[in-house]
Symmetry: C2
Subunit: 331 residues, 2 copies
């Protein structure tokens, strides 16, 4: 991810590894105490640093995530239309349900709006929230609406976890796959930061991300071992998955699908992708990508492998290479 | 509620009557379009304007509420300690579960903190959130942590609704009861607005409200017909209950229990109380107040009756009187 005001901040479950391998409040050590605090909570409460919290209710597993988007931190008004701000906030939250292959059952939207915001824009924003929910097969079941100086949206996503896939579960010998093509959001951000209008399809990747709900369930049904959505960047999220599963993730640079408007580095370290990184058992044959693309209309690409060890290694034509600048931000 | 920066903004369920009888974004008509929008959503989604949204999961009813607190809108830094900001945000959200007599199963906290906030204060704030959750018998199961200019806390409360009490259900002939004594938060706000330090117990009513979880379940077990938590003010919330139930609520001014540091007017129109207003059937005998106080250590007082009709009438020694200034704000 290019330097800028965007912060990766999408840890909705507070578990064994929250806020450790990235810096939602970073950089620097000033918030180490907070990270420790959440870690302590997590040990008493939620699971292993997954994208959702899980609550057992009479044999049904409820997956819950909340995702807070604030103007100036996560987006700028000049970049996005009001409808896109709402859609994006909701899609980012729903992507946490996709990451665990949960089925959305409803969202709540807590919204803070500035007094001077025209009512038509406020309606557009909320319409964007509702459209993203409906596109994912659920409705807006509740919310809160208050005054604020900065546009503030916390979207709470609730899902059924009938066949959950978590970050824990990847095993040496598994293959690593990614949905879609990466780098579009980072390319859009880079353009905005330079005062330019992004290329249209790259802009759409940032402004109107698609939570991969159906794709996640398709992958879960085919034996997905571990999964995460790419919010912090491919390498950073591979590191989260590796840490949770107690394995090493090897990413093969030349295999990473790059959005046409992006650079290879943007694809490898750019965040806010909301694509799925998934570990599949070796028994899933190579044509799974073809079958996935036929079913969903976008690619599933093998980008690496799961090995014994820990951490993430980036390889190019078989040889380990240094990660691009930007990855260190998430160390 | 005295005029000031505090806005009543606690509608977590978007239903048939959202944002109609109060003005979370008011005053004025500028946000009528938003209210209509939420109303439209609500018709497709949630129930009848209750404090929580309800989701049916395999025979279990999940009650969910979110409550967004923002510095400058809901509190000022000079008024509250960081721990109190966290406690209050969490307690306000849990109070929505109390309002429907749900049992808390977990909360999520989405928190935005300013870069310049000392880490120790941030930890205090989050500790306040966690303490309020634990006091209500549940844990912090997830959250989100981002940068923001203003301290921002959205607390999502999840509860089981095994014996739900809603705003709908009050019948003519029922009696109206209130837990606790009212006016403390309004007295504290009035003092702060005048640049004074509030009386200690009034301050505590604002800074450390107690969600009436156990009291709500006690009342539900004794046949409570309809219930609401007093967040907008006694008269305003009586109006919500009346509208939802299709009845008239008559409040007898001389019966309203007034906090020792508050005026009668503050008790009648002050918000942020988080006490319960409940309609009990006439078959529940007059000693229910005594039994309640023995069980919970604070009073349950009969403040009026449910009649045929609509709206709210304030009576003094049997005669209708005009509501105090401040009630019109919620019309």
């Amino acid at each position: 991810m290019p330097p800028g005001i965007l912060e990766t901040s999408r840890r909705s479950a507070i578990g064994a590894h929250p806020f450790v391998t990235h810096t939602p409040l970073g950089p620097g050590r000033e918030f180490d105490a907070i990270r420790r605090f959440w870690s302590t909570l997590g040990d008493r409460a939620a699971g292993g640093g997954d994208d959702c919290a899980f609550i057992e209710l009479d044999g049904t597993t409820l997956a819950v995530s909340c995702d807070l988007s604030i103007e100036g931190t996560h987006f700028r008004l000049g970049w996005l239309k009001a409808h896109e701000i709402g859609w994006r906030a909701c899609a980012a939250s729903l992507s946490d349900l996709a990451a665990v292959a949960a089925t959305p059952v409803g969202i709540l939207a807590a919204v803070g709006l500035p007094r001077e915001m025209p009512a038509s824009l406020a309606v557009d924003l909320m319409d964007g929230v509702a459209e993203a929910a409906h596109a994912a097969g659920c409705g807006v079941v509740g919310g809160d609406l208050v005054r604020s100086d900065a546009i503030t949206i916390d979207v709470v996503s609730l899902g059924r976890g009938d066949h959950l896939v978590r970050r824990v579960g990847a095993q040496p010998g598994d293959t690593l796959w990614i949905t879609g093509a990466l780098g579009g959001p980072a390319a859009a951000l880079a353009a905005w930061e330079e005062g330019q209008e992004p290329e249209e399809t790259a802009r759409a990747r940032f402004a109107r991300p698609e939570p991969r709900i159906a794709a996640a369930q398709w992958l879960a049904a085919r034996g997905a071992r571990a999964m995460i959505d790419v919010s912090d960047g491919l390498l950073a999220d591979a590191a989260h998955l590796a840490a949770a599963s107690g394995v090493r993730c090897a990413v093969e640079r030349e295999r990473v699908p790059v959005h046409p408007a992006a650079t290879a580095d943007q694809a490898i370290v750019g965040g806010e992708e909301y694509e799925l990184l998934v570990a599949l058992p070796a028994s899933v044959t190579g044509d799974v990508g073809t079958r996935f693309a036929e079913a969903h209309g976008f690619p599933l690409t093998r980008v690496g492998a799961v090995d014994a060890g820990d951490g993430v290694v980036l390889r190019e034509h078989g040889a380990a290479v240094a990660p691009p600048v930007g990855f260190g931000h998430f160390d």
